[in-house]
């Protein structure tokens, strides 16, 4: 039974990909991806319940392993996958024809949507493998697979800028991941030297149990390289530059998936590596490294948000800011801090996914991604602006939504762990980003359309958000609000997941 539970998250999306491959993207098969994602979500819930009741589950000799952190991440993949796949048909309908003109005819268009369906489902399968991987090697292979799969998704639009974004995304991510591979191999050498068997030398549990015997100097180098490498995929500072380009050019559901799930999945690997590092070297080394990367990402994101002109890049830098804050939380590392960052990942994932999907609709309604050309959206498209506004309110960290509760818990854990100054610096940078984001959002959403020359020139677009497209978005926002008030459904899962990783 557990074998089935662990295999379904991989098999279901692959099956959906197969359906797209064989039958192509037609009205009947349009929602195959959504079905796959729904299956993953259902399985994730069952897995979470089982893990909570009977502890971690292992199959295939430790290659696939489900501990509370994995179950939590799988829940994220399921929900946001469902959200993104549900929004894909509407997105492709609105954008499919817009970009076909530039490429050769309808046949190519049909091929592109078919490839889109396959790649998105493949993306979900790769992320599920990465999360469930019991050992570092398989995790690395799965994350590299996500890069390969999304390369063409980023280039899906086929324009010059999409191609540029795809190239930068592939090169920078592959370099980052290669550094992580170097780290894994060095750790593997240290583990083999410490007497671990060939198969168990890369498994998390084995590594943590034998932490005392690993050589500290070699492990320090390995952990540093892995944090730097997986940090690149999590959008953290040194190799972060692909994030804004990929998110601004990729189709809206794909950037929702990337921001909402891919970055946290990569960050879960950073968490596992930090756990190993702390077991061997004590907290000092990983804390300083994570603090530098976290505060660096926060500072860069806040600075680049100030004079931002493109609202998709604005959302991407907001993701970078939140990932920086999560990294500072990981640097603090206490049980409360880890519980806070898991709640933050859940809240931010949902809110950012809704924000990206609505930004896709705004792009199709307004035809431009520039902030100063989108005027008085609140007056012209009340529903679209309302959902986009609520998502931004959640991202700005206002109360009913869970991001406020998690940021508050982060601050408390930071000061409790005697990291007063870095936490204060982090929240000052969050304030700077808040100011920039609030100013841009106000410029886009508020104001009166009657006397704007730019706006009147554009044809009045019909009400973009039909009932079926906006219900998932509104339910997602309500979910973030419920998480912010009680966090009942996942609070026990978060606490046990935090239990495993903390100091």
């Amino acid at each position: 039974m557990t074998a089935l539970m662990l295999l379904v998250p991989l098999a279901a999306p692959l099956l959906a990909a197969l359906v797209y491959a064989v039958f192509g993207w037609r009205r009947a098969t349009a929602h195959a991806g959504t079905a796959g994602a729904a299956l993953v979500l259902a399985d994730a819930i069952a897995l979470a319940v089982r893990v909570m009741r009977r502890g971690s589950a292992e199959i295939l000799g430790g290659w696939l392993r489900a501990d509370p952190l994995a179950a939590f991440m799988l829940l994220g993949i399921g929900t946001i996958g469902l959200l993104a796949c549900a929004a894909s048909p509407a997105y492709l309908a609105a954008h499919g024809n817009a970009h076909d003109g530039q490429r050769q005819g309808a046949r190519e268009g049909a091929g592109a949507t078919r490839r889109y369906g396959m790649l998105v489902s493949g993306f979900l399968a790769a992320m599920a493998t990465a999360v469930l991987a019991g050992n570092l090697g398989l995790a690395w292979i799965a994350i590299e697979a996500t890069t390969i799969v999304t390369a063409f998704l980023v280039g899906h639009a086929g324009t010059r800028q999409a191609l540029e974004a795809a190239w930068k995304y592939t090169v920078i991510c592959s370099v980052g991941i290669a550094l992580a591979l170097l780290g894994i191999i060095v750790l593997y050498a240290a583990a083999r030297h410490a007497g671990l068997g060939e198969s168990s030398a890369l498994e998390y549990t084995a590594l943590i149990n034998h932490a005392r015997t690993l050589d500290p100097a070699v492990t320090r180098m390995a952990v540093a390289l892995m944090i730097l490498g997986f940090g690149a995929k999590a959008g953290l500072v040194p190799l972060h530059a692909w994030l804004p380009d990929a998110h601004s050019q990729a189709p809206a559901p794909v950037s929702a998936l990337m921001s909402g799930v891919l970055l946290p999945v990569a960050f879960s690997q950073v968490l596992r590596v930090t756990a190993i590092g702390n077991a061997v070297l004590g907290t000092g080394f990983t804390r300083t490294l994570l603090l530098i990367m976290g505060l660096g990402s926060l500072a860069l994101a806040a600075l680049l948000l100030i004079a931002q002109r493109d609202y998709k890049r604005m959302l991407a830098y907001s993701t970078m800011e939140h990932m920086g804050l999560i990294t500072v939380g990981a640097a603090i590392g206490t049980r409360l801090a880890l519980a806070a960052i898991l709640l933050h990942i859940a809240g931010h994932g949902l809110a950012k996914a809704v924000a990206f999907i609505t930004s896709g609709h705004i792009l199709s309604a307004e035809g431009t991604t520039r902030i100063d050309q989108v005027k008085a959206l609140g007056a012209r498209q009340p529903v679209l602006a309302g959902i986009f506004g609520c998502a931004l309110l959640a991202l700005l960290g206002f109360p009913p939504f869970s991001l406020f509760a998690s940021e508050l818990a982060l601050a408390r854990s930071g000061f409790a762990a005697h990291l007063g100054w870095p936490t204060a610096a982090a929240f000052a940078l969050v304030l700077l980003a808040f100011a920039a984001l609030a100013a841009h959002a106000a410029r886009m959403l508020l104001g009166d359309p009657d006397h704007d020359p730019v706006v009147d020139a554009r044809p009045a677009a019909p009400g973009v958000l039909g009932l079926i497209t906006r219900t998932p978005l509104i339910t997602a926002l309500v979910a973030v609000a419920v998480l912010g008030i009680t966090a009942w459904p996942i609070s026990s899962l978060i606490n046990t997941a935090a239990q495993t990783g903390h100091r």
């Binding site: 090697g137 292979i141 800028q161 540029e164 190239w167 930068k168 191999i185 050498a189 198969s199 070699v218």
Partner: protein, 224 residues
């Protein structure tokens, strides 16, 4: 690299030779500006890597290392360079424009990187007192040279060559430090590497169609 006088030093001498060829190929790639020549050097480096694996297999009596060596040799000496050579078409435009860092400066930097690699690899070397461990700094320096090529070359394919250098270095370290990672992982890693190179090749061809040349300086439209 001092050689010990025991009969087994025959194997370690062979190992040092392979490592020497491995490093020289990387330096040569740095020296040349012609991509086609660089792909040939990549093939040489791939075969040196395979040789290294065979010598290690013999010395540490690991039978399956031979299979891995064969696979690695096939992939890195034959398949990948072939893929690259077909991508380099005849037109002069793809030769190589002036790299960001002129050749003299990049060679000096490469020297500095080798020294840094040597200093950093000390804890790994102290781990196992074998000849293989001593050759580890070669693998690390090839990794750093690969990164240097990636950062300084304007041509898209030259960047792919840099990426392959980086990966060869990492696999070399895997062999030298712990006689190769588990077979399944090695298989997965190689398969991923193949896919990445395929993706980059497709992107390069599409870039030529859209931008007219594979020069990375045209990729400047996505900016803040």
């Amino acid at each position: 690299m001092t050689t010990m006088s025991t009969p087994a030093n025959g194997a370690s001498e062979l190992l040092d030779l392979a490592a020497g060829v491995f490093l020289l190929a990387a330096v040569a790639i740095l020296w040349l500006r012609d991509v086609a020549a660089q792909t040939r050097l990549l093939a040489v480096q791939g075969s040196a890597l395979a040789a290294m694996a065979v010598v290690l297999g013999a010395e540490q009596a690991h039978p399956e290392l031979y299979a891995v060596a064969a696979g690695v040799g096939l992939l890195r000496a034959v398949v990948l360079p072939a893929l690259l050579r077909r991508a380099v078409n005849a037109r002069a435009a793809d030769r190589e424009t002036r790299p960001l860092l002129n050749v003299g400066a990049s060679l000096l930097t490469a020297a500095a990187l080798v020294l840094l690699a040597y200093a950093v690899a000390q804890p790994l070397v102290r781990l196992e007192a074998t000849a293989a461990a001593r050759a580890l700094s070669v693998g690390l320096s090839v990794v750093l040279i690969g990164l240097l090529v990636l950062v300084t070359r304007r041509n898209a394919l030259a960047q792919v060559v840099g990426f392959l250098l980086l990966d060869n270095g990492i696999t070399a370290i895997a062999f030298l430090a712990a006689a190769g990672v588990p077979l399944l992982v090695e298989l997965g890693v190689s398969f991923d590497l193949l896919l990445v190179v395929l993706v980059l090749r497709v992107l390069t061809t599409r870039m030529r169609a859209v931008f007219g040349s594979a020069d990375l300086d045209d990729l400047r439209e996505l900016r803040d």
